[in-house]
Subunit: 692 residues, 2 copies
Amino acid sequence: MLDSLFKPRSVALIGASTKELSIGNVIIKNLQRFNFKGPIYPINPKAPEIRGIKAYPTIFDVPGDIDVAHIVIPPEQVPQAVEDCGKKGVKNIIINTAGFKEMGAHGEALQDDFVARGKKYGVRLFGPNCQGIINTDPEFNAYCDFTFTYPEPGHISIVAQSGGVGAFIMQNFFDIGVGMRMYASNGNACDISIPEIMRYWGNDEGTRVIVLYIESVDDPKNFMEIAREVAAKKPILAMSAGRTAEGAKAATSHTGGLAGGKSMELIFKKTGILSFTDAQEMCQAAVAFASQPIPKGNRVGMITNTGGPAIIATDELVDGGLEIPPLSQEAEEKLKLTMFASASINNPIDVVATAGAPQFRSALDVMMDEEQIDSVYINFVTPPFVDCPAVAREFAEVSLQRRKPIVCNYMTDKAQWTETSAILKSGGIPCYEFPGTAAKALAALSRYSKIKSADNGKVQSFDNIHPETVSAIISIAKSEGREMLNAEEAYNILEAYGIPFAQWTTAENLADAMVASENIGFPLVLKADSPEIIHKSDSGGVAVNLTSPVALSSAINKMKANFTGTNLKYFLQKYYAGGKELIIGAKAESGLGHIIVFGMGGIFVEVLKDVSFGLTPISDYESKEMINSIKLAPILHGIRGQKGVATGLLAEIIERISALVTNHPEIQELDLNPVLAFETFAVAVDARIKIK
Amino acid sequence: MLDSLFKPRSVALIGASTKELSIGNVIIKNLQRFNFKGPIYPINPKAPEIRGIKAYPTIFDVPGDIDVAHIVIPPEQVPQAVEDCGKKGVKNIIINTAGFKEMGAHGEALQDDFVARGKKYGVRLFGPNCQGIINTDPEFNAYCDFTFTYPEPGHISIVAQSGGVGAFIMQNFFDIGVGMRMYASNGNACDISIPEIMRYWGNDEGTRVIVLYIESVDDPKNFMEIAREVAAKKPILAMSAGRTAEGAKAATSHTGGLAGGKSMELIFKKTGILSFTDAQEMCQAAVAFASQPIPKGNRVGMITNTGGPAIIATDELVDGGLEIPPLSQEAEEKLKLTMFASASINNPIDVVATAGAPQFRSALDVMMDEEQIDSVYINFVTPPFVDCPAVAREFAEVSLQRRKPIVCNYMTDKAQWTETSAILKSGGIPCYEFPGTAAKALAALSRYSKIKSADNGKVQSFDNIHPETVSAIISIAKSEGREMLNAEEAYNILEAYGIPFAQWTTAENLADAMVASENIGFPLVLKADSPEIIHKSDSGGVAVNLTSPVALSSAINKMKANFTGTNLKYFLQKYYAGGKELIIGAKAESGLGHIIVFGMGGIFVEVLKDVSFGLTPISDYESKEMINSIKLAPILHGIRGQKGVATGLLAEIIERISALVTNHPEIQELDLNPVLAFETFAVAVDARIKIK
């Protein structure tokens, strides 16, 4: 439990300073300004008082118990200070000082030293190289941080691996007049971790939504376990960085651990975290989550008192995956009685600029009553000739019923419309300044609703698999020091996991090949099988679509003549003409499992980057979703009278590969490229497996 | 010239009212609050004074000249009021009253009436159904509008077809502390039009950038001519609405004229207007355009004093098409002398949180001097322990040198950092609250730089074309009341414009067909040619890849047997195997010319919507750009050892089609679907032309 950290009854500051612009002064100033409810103990060997508060020469001189001690002294002095805190019985230490693990070996040694000391005394450590924590609960008013934003109480809690990002997120909520619950930025996270903080907030009633910025995770499994647990209780809105190659490079150099876009995105998805790529969009969504209920679906009712913004909003809502369905006949009849003659009474309901409280209220009530409406989007420009506070009162009243979520594109000068703005705020109406921002917030609510209601399926367990065969193959390769498995090993592994592949064999000579061809059946592909022949296709080492024994023997004789002098053997495989060319692959991600990739092969994967990803273990729902989420999926399902392919079988292949790499984590990379898919079957015709 | 409208020396208000919440009162209040420099003449038959200003019973009682008269009385009374204004010699009338053309036939008649009267007296009309104009020039302080935002003077001028959109754009600049030059929202635009206003601002020195919101244009050619002229002088940032099908429907019902996304986007592109789909992004870009120079290219230098936001910014900049190149050895050497030990001295330069003015200045100077840097992105979080005003002074000083554009993600509480904020503002530093918003503004500057430096090519004139042939074909079809041309007519039109197609002929019988086959050459496609046979391919009416006279005669005999009893003729066409399947089409857009479409055909156009558009006349540059801008373009150029197709020839086909439809505007639709493209040639194998 992190109660003594986030709800401290007393705070000490080792390194307190009389110098105005120093961290050792700023933290005391922040505690004072924020009206911290407990005693503050500045620790300074010389100064008798700092910012009007009695200072103590050492931590041992402090008369009372200490829940949180900040350390802001130079790195070399930190281990001893931690030792002292341990002796004093301090419960938590926030080490703001930087210059530890993030600065190389010497710093890391220092960090290891004080971590050990902390452990010895059972004192919890926060940081180092961090900002600290904030709790706006008026019972504590804890501002144990050197940042500069003084948030109002609210229901959003923010945890950020980067203090800079945490600071601008917190500042944004402040700027738009939205409160915050707790804040944490824990820098190097030598002890208290982001998952631990998330779990604590999961149990904090005052926190309705968690906003997370994270660049990397050290222990993905632990993160995922806790994230899943917390996400089941309340929305977690999260953003990582490094979705571009350049960004990923920057993220990797900024932090250790598993960093960068794709992995974090998959972790978010797998654990039920709502993922964002834009920080502003995440903040704006959080505002809606903090006060509005979750919609049942994606159907929006729009109410507007201005034309142009309604058109823009329509574009934005549709872009965000929302629908704007027509209203019922009954609703229209009701509206005809209440709306002005110039109003437009379907969806959007354009109440027109002169509309007052009765018109807006009627429109809102209709939207709340309509079965086929899940949420309400309002464009509200404040005409100087309308009683806007009265309109706002209706919005607030309906919002507080919490029947369906409402967002409002509130177009006004808040400095003039103070009363109206205050009423909207008291009603918990999330207000935005652009149609696009309001629409995106609503889209996020709807996206979350979809996540929550989705049945994520079941990870199938397959009976007809032979893990022991695979283990044996891998053992042999390992014992021989090989990382790449040969074709025979790779196909045997596929066979052991019931993954279909094109039948094949090797042959020493023509006679062998003729026998083999009878087993496999025509047509056939013939490949020269010799380590000496590198570019097989270019040098005449491949012959496809051999339809008869005559064709096969002629091809073999040709190759023999072509490659005289080499130790030539032959690789024969069943030849399949046509079929859709797909790729299915797996790649180990340290500490996380494997990332499975699916896509249409050949030039499409190259030109269109049309692939989907999943994180093992892949459920039956996820495998289908992976198939359906590539852009070319309609081609797999059949289009324009063309038959589709056996997507059910493809899904099974994905799941079987997931089972294979999960059971055998030694597999680092697996590529089936291509898998050929037909109407009733699919086969891998090339397999490459790399182990560690 | 619109001087007397935007720089009025006197304003009258017909319909002035003592009622606080009425438009007739609000407009006077606005003029007063904004400190309008000339006399205000309220016109009211009863009240002796309104808001402390002497009122006049009629316009004729006003002692002086009137530059602008507002009309806010009911629609029926407007024509007479316009007549009176005309007699009085009023120069401009802003008709705020609604209820005219936008409300149907009766309103349109009223509007036509007062337009005629205005014309009679030479008085210019603005509106009706509009907000009005604002000019912040302190010499005038003209607030002839009923909105509520009181902008500071600045360099951005805003014109919006929708008052609601205009209002929230203006409010946004106000909220972020950025000034405005002039504002206009002209509603129904019965006389003074948006292009006329744009042209006026094109010549206004105080306007550095024009922000345009437009839903539809009545006279696209006129709009384009003026837009091109103005865009050559200063940046126009524009947004339309209706990019989704739902949005386009809403836009069409909201306005008349040519509305919706695709056409407006093409108009913007063709005239050099910088197009946006997001209003906030447009506003934020405008702020940068108003104070910063245009970059020479897309290479950004980043300076940051915080880690996380730099990673996010990297993603956002790269997403926006910008590059973050490494710095020169020389720059690194310079930075080593000035930066703190913990700083990171490439690109980004992480000056670290403790950096002060000297570090930031040195980093800025290096970026300004680096040849391979075109613009500078700054992440500036205000640490409480740094002299931030001193840092800001360096930013301002360098910004005012106007060497390269600077944008700043300024992460602070502006209420506390007032001095720092004021210095940044005085230096014209565009400040943003998120890495994403700052990056997008910089991306817009870079996008504009690309537009300005692009050579848009030349519209080719083709010698070997025969317009008279096409005119004759169209005349005949018209005289016969046909809209769809038959195959012979369509192919003859292609031939007349030098557009290659697969050779074809029709044959009455087997003997004819045998002769024809000698002319065309094998292989051939044979189609049953009879109006009675609808689904040719399904009913055995198509035979492809006939490689010999024997195959042809056998196919004909089979069809004869198949379709006994019908008046069977034969259509023979050269058969091409392989080739990339493309579509090239043209569609007339009223008042605008034709929109040309290009894409890969077959399932791809259907599944991927992978098409590009251009507006006639298409230049040699534009035709290539159309080809290169589809996602599958790499396939056309050749990929993975596969040969590409004759893209030069495809470009010529696009240009020839452009010439064809431009010379013959009767052509409503033209579809070449497919065009088969090969390494050295391309041919249309099906053509459909619809005329009017």
